[in-house]
Amino acid sequence: MKAIVTVIGHDQVGIIAKVSQKLADLQVNIIDMSQTLMHGDFTMMLNGEWDETTTSFEQVKAGLKEVADETGLTINIQREELFDAIQKL
């Protein structure tokens, strides 16, 4: 299963570390990642992949919610097919 994780919020120390550690704990492999800083707001997008038989989508979503609650960031996770369907003909 592949999904896009987006992280947006106030820049702070340790964002990439916390998000990637949580994903590693959940057995999610980060295939691609990009991040930028815009007007003091941190924006990160990453493409994560994992074996659905060992970890469910809801588990990954719940794990990321913990990081979001702890840091005050907005973290979304959506299946990759959504972006393909909307952007690709």
């Binding site: 924006t43 997008m45 809801e58 959506q78 959504l82 972006f83 909307i86 952007q87």
Partner: protein, 154 residues
């Protein structure tokens, strides 16, 4: 993976209100026809509540995994004028109430099919259905009704 495309897609949903307006499950009621109206309605209720029992749950799962709202969950059935014609009831309001009850049980927002197709003329079931529409709609809140009066194919 294009960053701008990802931001654009997320923007469409969060700022521009892109959503999935409805998901609909179509269910045939031909196997529920019965000359006894009460039996027919029981068969209809059972079939609808069995076939659609997971619809709302699956819709919620889709909403969660894709991050896009699904505004309405809907059922759509074989036009009741065809299904009820075999019974000798004077009106079909009870069929609408059965549809309503089934919709409530499975948790969908809308159920369509309290309908007649008359583009080729009227049968007895069509007349009774149409005459039942005002009362059926006033007694229910999720039932949708229609009458097809014309077609380029008829």
């Amino acid at each position: 993976m294009e960053s701008k495309q990802i931001i654009d897609t997320i923007h469409m949903i969060s700022e521009e209100r892109l959503d999935i307006r409805t998901i609909t499950m179509g269910i045939s009621l031909f196997d529920c026809i019965d000359s006894d109206g009460a039996k027919a309605r029981q068969k209809i209720y059972d079939k609808l509540t069995t076939s659609a029992q997971d619809l709302v749950k699956v819709a919620d799962q889709i909403e969660s995994e894709y991050g896009i709202p699904i505004v309405n969950k809907r059922l759509s059935v074989t036009p009741i004028s065809m299904i009820a014609a075999a019974c000798h009831d004077d009106n079909y309001v009870e069929y609408a109430k059965t549809m309503e009850k089934a919709a409530e049980t499975v948790g969908v927002d809308l159920i369509g099919g309290f309908s007649a197709l008359v583009q080729k003329g009227y049968q007895i079931g069509d007349e009774k259905l149409i005459a039942s529409i005002p009362e059926a709609l006033s007694e229910t809140s999720r039932v949708c009704s229609s009458v097809n009066v014309g077609s380029t194919r008829s």
